[in-house]
């Protein structure tokens, strides 16, 4: 390596011959810049494949469940869902936390891994950020529409109203309003900034091939980007700052979502472990969803050279790490409930495991604690199909975790006279599954019309991008 030569003056090094730490190859088969551009742009420039149309129609159909469900809800009342006294938050808030959690992995990949200089993020970060934005859209449906009087949702924002009354800034729901709005806005902005150089490529390619309409459309959003290094210098700085700002944002957003529960006094909710527990859980579920989305994309579009086994390995390892943290959090909650000698807290945890919802608790434990442990084994990580199946289990398990937290604690809290079991209605169930349709519609549109990988960043991590490449014998 170059270091050995520069430090040749130290005689010890000539004796020891330090081992060369191999850098992971992030783009295999030594692909050129042109190849990368053609590969990614080819997806957009080509004809829409038949499978895309099939998936899109199915997705639209499923998304209609949500549209119909929400319309029925607003017209008739929250009573069409299964809510009751004492379980005043049921599936909708579970779904909200589920989708927001999924979104967090995208920001982690874009922002946190960027700050940590993990170059392997480049092939997945565009799709992951898109996943974040679409997940936030799906998530935001629920807190907006679950309120009893949706037409007064604007009461939540500090805008003038005829009562001249302000919002309650002590309430975690009010913090949620600011947090989720900020998260959605910053995610879109961050994603868009990353898209600008790629939109410029598409603008110019469409112009060259004569498609003036598409060239103008992409060009409008490309802002006239021309690849100038003076611009790149400011751009890179802005990107770094946005990554630096998005990192505490993602941590704070799910912390604030966890405060929805932690600030209340219900046993099982009122616990300080929630912020880190929720954030770890969010990253865990988000990586599960990233794997669920990226592995089929990789197979369909033959992106094995760009999303390599190293990438899949890294994603599996993060899933394993966060899944283990989540498992540890379960154990700690249980331990502290016992150690605190608080009878309500202790009862809550016995109730979770053996009460009316025992089945959801054990699904949660098996999906979240046991299934990620498979990722210790390299043979498992190399088997892409198996990894994909495990990622589905992770998604299911994380939904059940939110269900266990929210619904079992509400079902049985302080006074037994107020205990009551939640039964979701058909509207609940269809509205939730419809959001997968909404997500799929948006994601399918994304992969059809926008570059699914950041071409500029990908090129920047190839060995050919190194300005000092010719100097040493890499």
């Amino acid at each position: 390596m170059a270091h050995a030569e520069h430090a040749a003056s130290a005689p010890i090094l000539q004796e020891v011959k330090p081992a060369v730490l191999p850098r992971a190859v992030l783009v295999e088969n030594n692909r050129s810049f042109t190849w990368i551009t053609d590969k990614i742009c080819g997806i957009i420039e080509g004809k829409t494949p038949a499978w895309w149309w099939v998936c899109f129609c199915v997705a639209c159909f499923v998304a209609s469940f949500t549209v119909v469900g929400i319309t029925y809800l607003i017209a008739t009342g929250v009573g069409v869902w299964g809510h009751r006294n004492p379980v005043n938050w049921g599936w909708p808030i579970v779904n909200f936390v589920f989708w927001i959690g999924i979104g967090h992995a995208g920001t982690l990949i874009s922002a946190i891994l960027c700050l940590l200089r993990q170059k392997w993020r480049t092939s997945i970060n565009r799709a992951a950020e898109a996943m974040t934005i679409f997940a936030v859209v799906c998530a935001a449906i629920f807190p907006v529409f679950h309120i009893g009087r949706v037409w007064y949702a604007w009461f939540l924002f500090p805008i003038p109203n005829y009562n001249e009354i302000w919002q309650n800034f002590r309430s975690p729901l009010e913090w949620d309003v600011f947090a989720v709005s900020t998260y959605g806005t910053v995610s879109v902005l961050f994603w868009y900034i990353g898209l600008i150089p790629d939109l410029a490529i598409l603008r110019d390619r469409f112009y060259m091939s004569g498609n003036k309409l598409r060239s103008s459309l992409y060009g409008f959003f490309a802002m006239g980007w021309r690849g100038s290094n003076r611009h790149w210098s400011n751009y890179e700085m802005a990107y770094m700052i946005l990554a630096g700002v998005a990192t505490p944002l993602v941590l704070s957003v799910h912390t604030i979502v966890s405060f929805d529960f932690a600030v209340s006094l219900i046993p099982g909710w009122h616990t300080t472990i929630f912020p880190p527990y929720f954030v770890a859980g969010a990253i865990f579920s988000g990586f599960g969803m990233v794997l669920t989305l990226m592995l089929p994309l990789r197979a369909i579009y033959h992106l094995e050279d760009l999303i390599t086994q190293y990438h899949i390995d890294c994603m599996c390892k993060i899933t394993l790490a966060t899944g283990t943290i989540v498992g540890y959090a379960y154990a700690m909650e249980f331990f502290i409930a016992w150690y605190s000698a608080n009878p309500y807290e202790g009862f809550t945890f016995i109730n979770r495991a053996f009460g009316p919802y025992w089945w959801s608790y054990w699904i949660m434990i098996s999906c979240n604690v046991i299934t990620p442990q498979f990722f210790w084994f390299k043979s498992v990580r190399n088997n892409t199909t198996f990894v994909w199946v495990l990622s589905l289990f992770v998604n299911v398990g994380m939904w059940f975790e939110r269900f266990v937290i929210i619904c079992t604690s509400l079902t049985r809290d302080f006074l037994p006279s107020s205990w009551g079991v939640l039964s979701p209605t058909v509207v609940d169930i269809f509205t939730f599954f419809g959001t997968f349709g909404v997500f799929s519609v948006l994601f399918l549109l994304f992969i059809r019309f926008l570059p699914i990988m950041p071409m500029a960043e990908l090129k920047a991590v190839t060995p050919q991008a190194d300005a000092f490449a010719g100097d040493d014998h890499h």
Partner: protein
């Protein structure tokens, strides 16, 4: 060309070639010039003699504005405009005002960063002589250019062209304005 040209453009095929050429152009004393790259090349800022970007200062201003906006809004609302006893909590505490202020800090930082970056870069600028160049699509994709503007005081058609050839540039052309 009869009309005043915008400047000269040269192709480079590798990042390291561009890097070395940029140093030459910088050392020759040119000011109004630029490198066109498909991705940010590390070290090129120094090779071009660029100063550090001022975007961070704009971001900082945005962040501070966001934080003070949050805290002042909540202080004004809860202490002056409409004080309410809510859950026995004090009218104002930096504790409960913090989450909202924190989010506003981040939001305003993001806005300031992006708007600042666009303004400093002079974007959007949909019409530019470089964008009219036939092969600009390759500059976005896989080739590196150096563009030296004619308005630079040291610009001389023959000498600048010779400098670029010496630095390793190929397909040196004049850009129409």
């Amino acid at each position: 060309m009869a009309a005043q040209s915008y400047g000269l453009i040269a192709h480079f095929t590798t990042a390291s070639a561009l890097y070395k050429a940029a140093k030459k152009v910088r050392d020759a004393g040119y000011r109004n010039w630029d490198c066109i790259t498909p991705f940010p090349v590390h070290g090129l800022d120094g090779a071009m003699g660029l100063r550090r970007s001022i975007v961070p200062r704009i971001s900082l201003a945005g962040g501070l504005t966001g934080f003070t906006t949050g805290m002042s809004l909540i202080y004004f609302a809860d202490k002056f405009a409409y004080p309410l006893v809510v859950g026995g909590k004090p009218f104002f505490s930096p504790m409960f005002a913090f989450p909202v202020s924190y989010e506003l800090t981040i939001l305003f930082t993001a806005f300031a960063t992006i708007i600042g970056m666009f303004i400093v870069n002079g974007l959007p600028m949909h019409y530019h002589p470089v964008l009219k160049y036939d092969h600009v699509v390759r500059g976005m994709s896989d080739t590196f250019f150096i563009v030296i503007e004619a308005r630079d005081p040291r610009f001389n058609l023959a000498n600048t062209r010779a400098l670029l050839e010496q630095a390793g540039g190929t397909e040196i052309k004049e850009l129409e304005a």
